[in-house]
Amino acid sequence: MEVISVNHLRKMFANKTIHRDVSFKVKEGECLGLLGGSGAGKSVILRSLIGLEKPDGGEIRIDGVDISKLSEPQLYEIRKKVAYAFQNGALFDSLTVFENVAYALKEHTTLSDKDIRLKVHDLLKDFNLDGCENLFPNELSGGMQKRVGLARAIILGPRAILYDEPTAGLDPANTITIQNLILHLKESGTTSILVTHDMDTALRVCDRICFLDKGEIEDLGSVEEIKKDRTRLMSLFVRG
């Protein structure tokens, strides 16, 4: 069954067409890699999937529900199921790392303060961020902010996660950590879309890869097939 299914999505900003006709599906438990040149509109696709952008045409279904017809309060329910890890972290700069990561737990669960503290602590450890609880976002490096943003997005244990370049700007060790984390979440059944420029990450964690170019999407097939012919993947970027 498809968790995410996009049909003939159209999106414009002012007079600029970003998406002409975008269609793709993501099955339950699958990780779809979304590649494409800078400015191709990858982030806009992810933002549209949780209703941060309104499409100009087509439909976006999450678990069968067409979210382009939902009101903002109805979208809150979708957003608890589908997490979006922002490309730049988008941390709340008036809150500490702890408060950022604990945000969704405080808002949407009835957990006690102690349980929240334990949960946040464990998660930060997974992201190599222990000891950062009381720092503010402006005291963190770019890569640390990104990891905090990722932790904040996934803390509720969402059904699907949209990763926007989660490994960009990270050192090799942290890149591996994040890859392992995504793989771990995938094994536990989470559906995901991974936007990235990093081929190694895409080939390691994704099941299938799509390429976004000139407002349309091309399905490149399964990772196994692509691995046999890596030059084809490279040639797409050169052509674009």
């Binding site: 941060l52 309060p73 957003r79 922002f86 730049n88 988008a90 941390l91 700069d93 969704a104």
Partner: protein, 255 residues
């Protein structure tokens, strides 16, 4: 349709939608009282020094001006009445509101706009919470509560400023001055002055939030939005003042 008309219509429509969202979400759960109280601190309490300085200067200068003008005609005894009534009815509320627009309105726009630009507003939405509840309502409510209170305090300080000058520079008897204040300032004067600031606080806070939320991407946009918010609030205060004064005037004479 030219761009200026389009922008004006966008402004009116955008503020109407924002006001509707605020009213709708004001009475639904969850309520964030902690956010309101922290805004009351930054918006209200931290404005006190500014209000103090402005109010005392206005009171003192008013007394001096009337003093110079009226002494020639032997009208010095009318100074307490003139100064006190003009401060409570008009100058206290107007100066408090304009200073509030400059300090608080500008602050709100700059803060909200930076949150938009750095995608924090999107992050609030992405995490299943309402930016209107989280950032707009606490600020609008804090303004609504703080400005009338600041005006009352400012009025009192302004009257004291007048009293100082009256006693020290114009050689009026302080007991006489106080008694004149009491006799000439009516409850109607007081409420028509403070009552206006309830409306002014909305003229300041709602457009400030509107300009912040609709900032053009980029750091330059934040500066432009802030300027627009302060100018708009000041204009709305002056236009609104005329109509509100007229309204209270009709209301008082009708009673």
């Amino acid at each position: 349709m030219n761009t200026r008309t389009a922008r004006f219509l966008n402004f009116v429509g955008g503020n109407a939608i924002l006001s509707r969202d605020i009213t709708r979400q004001l009475f639904t759960r969850p309520f964030y009282f902690d956010l309101l109280s922290s805004q009351l601190l930054t918006i209200g309490v931290r404005s006190l020094p500014l209000i103090f300085v402005v109010a005392i200067s206005v009171g003192m200068v008013m007394a001096l001006q009337f003093g110079i003008g009226l002494e020639k005609f032997g009208g010095k005894l009318y100074i307490p009445k003139l100064v006190s009534v003009s401060i409570t009815r008009e100058l206290g509320p107007i100066f408090a509101s304009l200073m509030f627009a400059a300090r608080v309105g500008a602050g709100i726009t700059a803060e909200v706009a930076s949150m938009v630009v750095s995608q924090q507003v999107d992050a609030l939405r992405a995490l299943g919470t309402s930016p209107v509840k989280k950032i707009i309502i606490p600020r609008v409510l804090a303004c609504l509560i703080a400005l009338p209170i600041l005006t009352v305090i400012g009025n009192a300080i302004g009257l004291m400023g007048g009293l100082f000058v009256g006693v020290l520079d114009l050689n009026l008897n302080s007991g006489f001055y106080l008694q004149k204040i009491e006799a000439s300032v009516t409850l109607a004067d007081f409420f028509s002055g403070v009552g206006k600031t309830v409306f002014f606080s909305l003229f300041i806070s709602i457009p400030a939030c509107y300009y912040g939320l609709h900032v053009q991407r980029g750091t330059r946009g934040v500066g432009i939005a802030t300027t627009e918010a302060v100018v708009t609030a000041s204009i709305l205060i002056f236009i609104g003042d005329y109509f509100l004064t007229k309204f209270f005037w009709i209301f008082e004479s009708w009673k």
